[in-house]
């Protein structure tokens, strides 16, 4: 197991354009906490408030799980964290050793989920995940898989209150 971290651009001070941090790790769910921790650290330095940081951590966890689904725990995940003065974009790319099976539900998450008023108890985990992403980040999506590669992304903007502080 290897986890590598790289960065480009001048990481201090944050807030300029063109900053990127990359995190590469095995596509194993027990490592999603590293992805969350990295997001939390960057968002914190960008003056995202506590609630926004928690939102970002949860949304990223859902994105990682979605992108890695169908890979059977094999392959690697590469996360690219990019930011400017008021937003963070995280791209999550899975490269699997074998062919990725099935499509993640979030490919369709831009569409309304289920019928209005459908009982929450009947929602699948995938649908719950899509609801979380819809609610917690400004934009997100997953590209259709290409055999052994799948890519998803999210973007979250800092609140106006933080910009003024």
């Amino acid at each position: 197991m290897s986890v590598t971290v790289g960065s480009s651009g001048d990481i201090i001070p944050l807030g300029g354009e063109g900053h990127t941090v990359t995190l590469s790790m095995p596509a194993q769910p027990e490592l999603w906490s590293l992805a969350r921790m990295t997001a939390s650290g960057i968002a914190s330095r960008l003056d995202f408030n506590v609630e926004e940081i928690e939102d970002l951590r949860l949304a990223l966890d859902e994105l990682c799980s979605t992108v890695a689904s169908g890979a059977g725990g094999s392959g690697r995940i590469e996360l690219s964290y990019r930011w400017d003065e008021s937003s963070i974009e995280i791209v999550c790319e899975l490269t699997s050793a074998g062919e990725i099976r099935g499509e993640p539900s979030l490919v369709h998450a831009v569409q309304p989920l289920g019928e209005p008023g459908s009982p929450a108890s009947e929602l699948s985990v995938d649908e719950l995940s899509a609801r979380i992403l819809d609610a917690l980040v400004d934009e997100h999506g997953v590209e259709p898989s290409e055999q052994s590669r799948r890519c998803g992304w999210l973007r979250k903007r800092r609140s106006r209150g933080a910009e003024q502080s």
Binding site: E30, W32, S33, E51, L58, S65, L123, V125, S129, I132
Partner: protein, 116 residues
């Protein structure tokens, strides 16, 4: 990294109480699921205390929903329920944005849950 999550089951005032602590995500949710699966069959009421849960993702939500269904589906369990204790705003928020506040009774502390 399993040390980031702990779950125990105890009985309080005759009610099975599952107390979880730490982060409930795709790697730790199976521990919560296994604990809920060990609940006595036909328990009329179960309380899951999430006061010390700092992170809850869709996998954990799925486990709680499955637990609710199991409690309600048990033979002779009319009126049975799995109730939650939630104190952290972020945990309550994820229940709200997914619409799951409609299927769980949610209390702000364990005493309140047991006293209801």
């Amino acid at each position: 990294m399993d040390e980031i999550f702990q779950v125990v089951m105890e009985e309080r005032a005759g009610v099975p109480v599952v107390r979880a602590a730490g982060e409930v995500d795709v790697s730790t949710a199976p521990m919560l699921r296994d604990c809920l699966a060990e609940l006595p069959a036909g328990s009329p009421r179960v309380v899951v205390d999430l006061s010390d849960v700092t992170f809850l993702d869709s996998t954990g939500l799925g486990v709680l929903v499955a637990g609710q269904k199991r409690v309600r589906a048990a033979e002779g369990s009319e009126g049975a329920s799995l109730d939650l204790v939630v104190t952290r705003p972020q945990i309550l928020k994820v229940l709200e944005v997914t619409g799951l506040t409609s299927i769980f009774s949610i209390y702000s502390n364990l005493d309140e849950a047991l006293g209801s």
